[in-house]
């Protein structure tokens, strides 16, 4: 287990992936060459192609890492907002504000990648899948919050989320994240009140 000094501190694959994560997010997958990733991660080219036979394989691994990180942050922010599903729906938007403040924030990695790679590519498919999973999660939360129409409410909230993320490509303005949270509260209240009123025995 002991490294020999010149040996990598972590596995070559991990180093490649974490280097790619930074570079791909900052400049887009298409904006970073394999040579750059190889040089920056201190790995031989043959080693690179052993772990990731094609560059696309690395891009997909990168997107999986992003998916885990972002979806995880979303759920953590919701959980931190308490037990009430309505508060959780709004609280998820804290993840947006947190991401906004992070150094090097550059918008939604999925949308950026999908914008580069054309329709019909694996990258595109992976992005669609990611958005579908997030939408399903929000829809479930909206249902548990007692929304009159969970589908429409969830769709509106994810639009808001995507808008906040997309705007991040331009400039990480906290005002955008705050406006998103404010709007989310209004939409959640409006979407759940009618149902709550009709469910209540007495108006």
């Amino acid at each position: 287990m002991a490294s020999t000094g010149t040996a990598p501190p972590a596995g070559a694959r991990d180093r490649i992936l974490s280097t790619a994560f930074q570079l791909f997010y900052a400049h887009g997958p298409r904006g970073v060459g394999v040579d750059t990733v190889v040089a920056r991660s201190g790995v031989a080219k043959a080693t690179f192609y052993k772990h990731f036979p094609r560059k696309d394989d690395l891009v997909l691994a990168y997107l999986d890492a992003v998916d885990q990180a972002w979806f995880g942050a979303l759920r953590a922010a919701a959980r931190a907002a308490g037990d009430n599903p309505r508060d959780q729906l709004v609280g998820a938007f804290d993840a947006l504000a947190t991401a906004c403040r992070r150094e090097g924030y550059h918008g939604c990695a999925f949308i950026n990648a999908a914008a580069e790679c054309g329709t019909g590519t694996e990258v595109h498919a992976r992005t669609v899948e990611h958005k579908r999973v997030v939408l399903a999660w929000v829809t479930d939360l909206a249902r548990r919050a007692g929304a009159a129409d969970p589908d429409v409410l969830a769709r509106a909230l994810t639009l808001l989320l995507d808008g906040g993320l997309a705007a991040g490509v331009l400039d990480a303005e906290p005002a955008a994240a705050e406006a998103a949270r404010y709007a989310a509260r209004i939409l959640v209240d409006a979407g759940c009140e009618a149902a709550a009123a009709s469910h209540r025995p007495a108006g």
Copy 2:
């Protein structure tokens, strides 16, 4: 003025620009080479470089064309919704639905281009400027609609708009556009009601 048969039906510059418009929007500026634009527009390479000394000049001209088209569609949709500013704010979202249904719709050209080209580029600056102009227009409309806080309402509405556009990179779902319009109505009503109530002589 009469063409000689082999002569171009329109000026070389126009042909280049309209070809670039299609190709750049479909594959992104970085995904289309100069050679492709030259070949598809039936123009000599020297002619191309005479009108657009660098490829970036063509990209910027493309973004200007997109800006005119999209901002124009936005204002037209708002105008079509009537004279009431509140209705106009909501009506602008019809432009999103219309764009969504158009063949080859692929999201917001500005966000896509900005995702490819890095921060600090002219493309990035042009995108920021475009979004700034749209935000200012929506803010003005929100003020005329009597919003309690026009800045926050406008920010929320543009987030919704950007979200709808960004989602278009993945799939042009009419459901997203409908949800955006629905959410816009709620936000506008919520943002203007308080002000309207306080402005009214009697509650």
